[in-house]
């Protein structure tokens, strides 16, 4: 009898839960419908930016609201969990009006689900302001969905100036010169590279840079879409070139074993230090932000462009935050259009910690020499390609311990195992593209 009553109550409670749930769904839909009728409108924006970055973005929003006084923009930070939060919100039928996505792969997924709306009306403007390559990063099958407002330049190499002086070397321009610098620095008794392999993605960034320079944009695009297999000779060639960096244990701080356990911020700290453990770290333009250092920019640590390979032209592999809209409202359109203007870029650029891919932005607004170098290279690059691992299905391209990241960690652990590693990458890719 006791059980009987429990089950009865349970069934009742279940019915209640189901009813409550249905009610929620209806409510969410209703809100969205009424919001789209409001011309002045509210815009909710979601991105990863928190802390200092959130303040800077709020300044951009304030500047926008000054221009569109009838639009209210509310920003919510999704932090590092932005992707799962958005996926869940889309499934629950309650996404924000606008979000800034770091992964074009996620954008393509949302486009496939018709969760985000095309912005083809802005395409001409976007191409004008950012150039074809950056505009293409916001396209899915030729349809414009995203505006890359904030960019990052991952084609940078950072070095400790004192170690370069001690070894008597200059910042290299070509890969061969880089190899010479490595040998000389090594002969001076300094470990040339600090590599943070822990999660694998810093290595995937190096790979993308080498691959783009060595095999060209066409192959890069084909590999990004998995139109050529990861067992392609071009991939093996790029890995072979990378052995110049990670192929020998004594090239890396802590040796191969140590590098495999080094987290990215530590790999930067090893170089950005009074008592450096390594001379160079190949990592994107965000490096100064990930560690505390007593060194001064330019005199203590400095940066050079990722060297060209066999005369390749200035190319940037980068990332960026792509603004997409989940709702078709005039307010959302106005906001996205504002994001293509140099004024919008200038607000944040002045505050620092920001690189704009906008070609119309005057470089002198950046607060420091280093950002001018890295952001300048980004805006002026002859070739821009989005970080390839972010173009893959996330499970293959951007997940700890899986797919590409795992493949690249394995490569550092066994640099002579290229055939087997590319086979594994291809097998993982096939699974992900199924």
């Amino acid at each position: 009898m006791r059980y009987g009553s429990v089950f009865a109550a349970l069934a009742a409670a279940l019915a209640f839960a189901a009813a409550g749930c249905g009610g929620d769904d209806g409510g969410g839909g209703g809100d969205a419908a009424s919001g789209s009728e409001d011309v002045s409108g509210n815009v909710s924006v979601m991105a990863i930016w928190a802390g200092e970055e959130q303040k800077s973005f709020q300044a951009v929003i304030d500047a926008f609201e000054e221009k569109f006084p009838n639009v209210t923009v509310k920003y919510t930070s999704g932090g590092d969990n932005l992707a799962p939060i958005l996926s869940t919100a889309v499934q629950g039928g309650n996404p924000p009006t606008i979000a800034a996505l770091g992964q074009p792969g996620l954008m393509a997924e949302f486009a496939k689900q018709n969760a985000i709306k095309p912005i083809d009306n802005l395409q001409a403007k976007i191409k004008d302001a950012f150039g074809d390559d950056v505009a293409a990063a916001g396209e899915v099958d030729g349809t414009q969905y995203g505006v890359m407002y904030k960019g990052s330049n991952k084609s940078t190499v950072w070095y400790n100036v004192a170690t370069f002086e001690e070894a008597g070397v200059e910042a290299p321009k070509t890969w061969d010169e880089l190899d010479q610098v490595r040998d000389t620095v090594k002969a001076a008794g300094i470990t040339p590279y600090s590599v943070g392999v822990d999660l694998g993605w810093p290595i995937s960034d190096i790979f993308e840079n080498v691959y783009l320079r060595n095999s060209g944009e066409e192959k890069y695009d084909q590999l990004s879409k998995h139109e050529i297999p990861w067992t392609d000779q071009s991939v093996k060639d790029a890995l072979t070139i990378m052995k110049d960096v990670v192929g020998q244990s004594d090239n890396m701080v802590g040796g191969t074993d140590g590098a495999l356990q080094t987290e990215m911020p530590d790999s930067v700290a090893n170089v950005f230090s009074d008592n450096p453990k390594g001379s160079m770290v190949i990592i994107g333009d965000f490096a100064p932000g990930v560690t505390e250092t007593t060194l001064q920019p330019v005199t203590g640590y400095n940066v050079f462009d990722f060297p060209s390979i066999d005369g390749s032209k200035p190319s940037v592999v980068g990332g960026g935050d792509l603004f997409v809209k989940f709702e078709d409202t005039p307010a959302a359109d106005a906001f996205l259009e504002y994001m293509t203007t140099p004024e919008a870029a200038e607000v944040w650029a002045k505050r620092g910690g920001f690189s704009s891919p906008n070609k119309d932005l005057d470089l002198s607004v950046y607060p420091d020499e280093i950002t001018r170098t890295t952001a300048g290279a980004l805006a002026k690059a002859e070739t821009f390609r989005f970080d390839m691992s972010d173009l893959q299905p996330a499970g293959f391209g951007a997940t700890a311990g899986q797919g590409l990241w795992k493949g690249f960690t394995d490569f550092v652990a066994n640099p002579n195992n290229i055939d087997k590693i590319t086979q594994q990458m291809e097998a993982d890719a096939k699974k992900a593209y199924k």
Partner: protein, 447 residues
């Protein structure tokens, strides 16, 4: 809906008078009212999510199409997930047994120690911090570099006392003229005879590592009936020409140079001057080789790679056992205190030794407590998660993977495949159910 309605009816103070004596309302309604808050919470937070997860596990990654058992098929065919399942079984086999055994040993031994409470507090202390924090602590302790990782630092103290590191631990030959490795030291490839000069160029020595008092290196004059030579840092800013002694390159003082004969055995030994030169006088005619002994290049202890792919699983288990040993000890100690002393004394009077008392009296009497500890640990170990993610570096998360972590990584860690994630969760749920059933049945029996 119906619960809601009942709650609303019941809220007026006091039941209606005509229903006062044993009506249906009295018997079921009041029960329902009292159960309602708990039921609502259970339903919203447990029952509904469980059912939703089970339903979700039969759908694809974005939840749009029903795919039957495909997710479960992936679960058992995917290598990564298979490792996770295998690791979880290793956890089940090893950890509960160790935790129970260590707790038992502590409990029994501490009964006989004077300051047992102090010891108990010390062993129990790890329970006071969260598993995640414990994981962070152990991650730092396991660092490979002995300068950072406590565990390797401990080993390094012992190792370096046995084999002290050399003055030029990182040095390498600057050209192929010098051959050999850290084991046998470096040796000049070409044989020399008395009257000739040996040049031993070394590189990869930090400016700051050059021994004090070093001066500009010079090539010494040949010596009749003797062998002279120089050991120098074959590097100047910009690199210089390897193999050639140039202006600006320093001699390496205090390096022990050996003279070896054709058979490889040492005939003489000397130390270098501040300018790097050395001389062997009165050398018998014949061919010799100049060499620098291995002790000069003895590298400091590099540390065990606790966080590497090979050791990560046991490393995490040790940390986990460290945390839970205290819990197990306290519970078992409580059980121990409840054992009637006269039984133990009767056994001793009958001539049983301590081991026999422990084996035949204590353990059987403690069996229920030991089972509780063991089963509790079994459940905890099945769903182990936080300590794994805290300790394992990303590069070895695959090797350290467990089911709960695989579930999280699949659903939220970037893959965003909620369907497969839900299937893993259901699988974990199924694994826990038998253990729970055993536990509940035990509770019933005891009550």
């Amino acid at each position: 809906m119906s619960v809601d309605a009942q709650t609303a009816e019941a809220s007026p103070a006091g039941p209606p008078p005509e229903a006062y004596k044993g009506s249906l309302w009295e018997r079921y309604g009041v029960t329902a009212v009292f159960l309602a808050p708990a039921l609502i919470f259970l339903t919203v937070w447990i029952v509904y999510p469980t059912l939703s997860t089970i339903r979700r596990s039969f759908y694809d990654r974005d939840g749009s199409s029903f795919i039957g058992f495909d997710n479960y098929e992936t679960l058992f065919t995917d290598d990564t997930l298979f490792t996770a399942i295998r690791n979880n079984f290793l956890w089940i086999l090893i950890v509960p047994a160790f935790v129970t055994a260590i707790g038992l040993v502590f409990a029994v031994l501490l009964e006989r120690v004077r300051f047992s409470t102090a010891f108990k507090v010390a062993v129990f202390m790890p329970m006071a911090i969260s598993l995640f924090a414990a994981g962070v602590i152990w991650r730092l302790m396991y660092e490979k570099d002995p300068a950072q990782g406590t565990v390797n630092a401990g080993i390094a103290v012992v190792k370096d006392a046995v084999t002290p590191s050399g003055v030029l631990s990182n040095a390498r030959p600057s050209t192929d003229a010098l051959q050999g490795g850290p084991k046998g030291g470096l040796e000049l490839k070409d044989a020399i005879q008395p009257g000739e000069v040996a040049q031993l160029g070394l590189t990869a020595i930090r400016e700051s590592e050059v021994p004090e008092g070093a001066e500009q290196a010079v090539v010494p004059e040949p010596l009749a009936g003797g062998i002279t030579g120089v050991v120098w840092r074959d590097f100047k800013p910009g690199g210089g020409t390897p193999g050639r002694l140039e202006q600006g390159e320093l001699g390496l003082p205090g390096v022990t140079v050996e003279l070896r004969d054709d058979g490889g055995s040492q005939v003489a030994e000397t130390k270098t001057e501040p300018n790097g030169t050395f001389r062997f006088e009165d050398v018998e005619p014949g061919t010799y080789r100049a060499a620098i002994g291995p002790e000069t290049f003895q590298t400091p202890y590099a540390g065990v790679s606790w966080l590497g792919a090979g050791l990560i699983l046991p490393s995490i288990m040790i940390a986990y056992i460290w945390v839970w040993a205290g819990f197990s000890m306290v519970v078992i100690a409580a059980g121990l205190a409840a054992i009637p002393r006269d039984l133990l004394e009767a056994a001793r009077t009958d001539g049983a030794n301590e081991w026999q008392v422990f084996r035949r009296i204590t353990i059987p009497l403690l069996a229920p407590v030991l089972t509780v500890v063991f089963i509790t640990m079994l459940i905890y170990v099945l769903k182990v998660f936080d300590i794994v993610i805290a300790i394992a570096p990303g590069s070895v998360q695959d090797d350290a993977n467990v089911i709960a972590l695989a579930m999280w990584r699949t659903s939220f860690g970037g893959v965003n495949d909620f369907g497969l994630g839900a299937a893993i969760a259901v699988f974990l749920f199924l694994l826990v159910i038998p253990v729970l059933a055993i536990n509940i049945r035990r509770f019933r029996r005891e009550v």
